[in-house]
């Protein structure tokens, strides 16, 4: 299947907050209760539709532990969107957000859209961070915010798609330079820059990233 745009995402946040589970829920629509911890990076891809156009998401899910931070940093460059995840049942993961955000801002391109995610919303009885606190943090730092559950799939779809919508809007506004791949955005194979914003035509995909995920 062909696409009009390709957006690259990165998922960041402390170890164990559910980054890999969120990715798996989004790409495969399933939850794996005991997921291998991530060493290095994991990759996922999926096609979504925005404003009637096919948008392909390529997602890099990174390792949360401090020891892997230098590797994680090398993935910020070239990402158009970031999901910054904490665990609503573990306050320490919320307290570390500032560090994550500093890292992200320092190593990414300045237009990167960041979505703050409070994951594990199904564990209401063990909640340790109020929704309002997440909202306040997001407001203060200019992020979009959502609470999700990788287990029940609540808001997972929305988190990934709303991020893409935001990126898409920035493209329409001309904020993103879509001809610079370092911004994490690519035009589809049959989609010349002049035709950007036009109809996404069908047809065979190019050699890279063309096929369906």
């Amino acid at each position: 299947m062909s696409y009009a745009y390709l957006f690259k995402y990165i998922i960041i946040g402390d170890t164990g907050v559910g980054k890999s589970c969120l990715l798996l829920q989004f790409t495969d629509k399933r939850f794996q209760p005991v997921h291998d911890l991530t060493i290095g990076v994991e990759f996922g891809a999926r096609m979504i539709t925005i404003d009637g156009k096919q948008v392909k998401l390529q997602i890099w899910d990174t390792a949360g532990q401090e020891a892997f931070r230098s590797i994680t940093r090398s993935y910020y460059r070239g990402a158009a969107g970031a999901l910054l995840v904490y665990d609503i049942t573990r306050r320490d993961t919320f307290n570390h957000l500032t560090t994550w955000l500093e890292d992200a801002r320092q190593h990414s391109n300045s237009n990167m859209v960041i979505m703050l995610i409070g994951n594990k919303s199904d564990l209401e009885s063990r909640r340790d961070v109020k929704r309002e606190e997440g909202e306040a943090f997001a407001r203060e730092h200019g992020l979009i915010f959502m609470e999700t559950s990788a287990k029940t799939a609540a808001n997972v779809e929305e988190a990934f798609i709303n991020t893409a919508k935001e990126i898409y809007e920035k493209i329409q506004e001309g904020v993103f330079d879509i001809n610079n791949e370092a911004n994490g955005i690519k035009l589809g194979p049959q989609h010349s820059p002049a035709a950007a914003g036009g109809m996404a035509a069908g047809g065979l995909g190019g050699s890279q990233g063309g096929g369906c995920c």
Partner: protein, 367 residues
Amino acid sequence: MQVLGIPVENGRRALCWKLLLNYLPPSRLAWDEALDGQRCAYRRFVREMVVRPGGAAGGSAAARVDVTEHDHPLSDQPNSQWQTFFKDNDVLGQIDKDVRRLCPDISFFQQPTEFPCQEVVCGDYHERLHERVQRVYLDSASVCRVGLGMQTKVDAKRRQQEHDYVALPGGQEAHWEVVERILFIYAKLNPGQSYVQGMNEIVGPIYYTFASNPDARWREHAEADTFGVFTNLMSEIRDFFIKTLDDSHSGINFRLRLLMERLHHHDPHLAVRLKVQQLYPQYFAFRWMTLLLSQEFTLPDVIRIWDSLFADEKRFDFLTEVCCAMMIQVREQLMSGDFAHNMKLLQNYPPLEIRTVLAKAEWLLSR
């Protein structure tokens, strides 16, 4: 041995691993002394770091009781010998989470060991490692709440584990608890590096192999022996874990570059294809090499691969060839797939016949 693997009978595999990783000296006559020494040393570490954290002086029961009365874990005194103890708990919290995620596809690690550490399970004045983690979580949770002036009461259910890696009642220990102790002691003894995620995946297969040794006389010492062999193995691969972006000869980046050079040597078309697609080895082979392939295959296959890796005198040259073989085995798919397809293929390696992959690697090594 590299090609055929080590037969399991009579614990021969466990024995070979101890020899190949220099835990046992080559001369059989020296074994008893070596084993005694290393097992004793390990027991001492357990006593100092787990049973009596903080290193209280004196070993008599009376002295120990005294210590816990006046300098207990909840004491806030700055000179408390429990200070280190609390610092350790960050590391411990991480290890605890990771060992509970160990090899979920087999039930081995959740089962009780026949040989629990007596000093740990029978003592009545100290906590087990996982209990320390639990208590600290409760403490920090209540502190945070007080700090924010909120009135929520601590929910007793919040630490309840959802999965089956539950702690066993007194007198018993599950295998994952043993692994937790090994990793904790390793982290304590190597403060510069401490615990890095992935070490759990390295220690797991070693412990499994030793703790399922058919010979009970070996099995009994699985914990101490695993610690020794793991420590030796880590000394060879520790740079994969520390200087992760370092280009030194022992660093992972150097290894990854070497891998692509070898691939180019064996199969230039495939190597160029991956390069053009920007499928860098950092994306998939980083994990392959750092974890010695332990996340790519089932446990029996991993153990079989490790026979060959440990038998490799120029350690880890063979690992490079196994990784090349893995790519070449799926070359048809890689040559036709797009970036996303190939990326997923390499990150979720298909369950191919492991003997074929190893035979291929053996053949590549000779080229």
